[in-house]
Amino acid sequence: AQSVSQHNHHVILSEAASLELGCNYSYGGTVNLFWYVQYPGQHLQLLLKYFSGDPLVKGIKGFEAEFIKSKFSFNLRKPSVQWSDTAEYFCAVNAAGATNKLIFGTGTLLAVQP
């Protein structure tokens, strides 16, 4: 069965600091990987996704993530965070081609201080 681990539950940063959120998954086959963001009181929105090709993917709002297959990781990065990035971030995985059922990590709550 697939599973997703997000190591950081809460992260507090000052504006302009760099961000890296860890995500590791467990699955033996080919996967699609996603980062979703949930702003306070809102629904989940797709930040970026990887399904093939260049392992470094760029998403909206200056976010990027790198798929490292050997490490089963898909870490999210942003070089300089803004107060408006305060949100909860979820890593998710599905088995490529087999299903679009997403398995989510437990989420990382990011608070950016102005």
Partner: protein
């Protein structure tokens, strides 16, 4: 602007009452998912449908929860009787999946139904 629509957005009810949440998936999507979000458990998959057929409801307490898709434009999640521990935000999501094709698997989420059971 295609989006997943959920009703009600907020529901406060008393223990023992029946609760029905509704979801209209994006037109053309053939998979529908129900997730529950709580502080303690995060996002849990309750049930999912493909082409209106239930494929997996192993995450759902069977004694009180039921999920259906009466037609392609409506999915329902019912709790009867409701209990305080059911208090959570329930999200519906939809996507498109084809067998053997190049599926990216992206899901689109509704704004959620916040349920409070007193």
């Amino acid at each position: 602007d295609a989006r997943v629509t959920q009703t009600p957005r907020h529901k406060v009810t008393e223990m023992g009452q029946e609760v029905t949440m509704r979801c209209q998936p994006i037109l053309g999507h053939n998979t529908v998912f129900w997730y529950r979000q709580t502080m303690m458990q995060g996002l849990e998959l309750l049930a999912y449908f493909r082409n209106r057929a239930p494929l997996d409801d192993s995450g759902m307490p069977k004694d009180r929860f039921s999920a259906e898709m009466p037609d392609a434009t409506l999915a329902t999640l019912k709790i009867q009787p409701s209990e305080p521990r059911d208090s959570a935000v329930y999200f519906c999501a939809s996507g498109f999946h084809t067998s053997g094709g190049a599926n990216t698997g992206e899901l689109f989420f509704g704004e959620g139904s916040r349920l409070t059971v007193l």
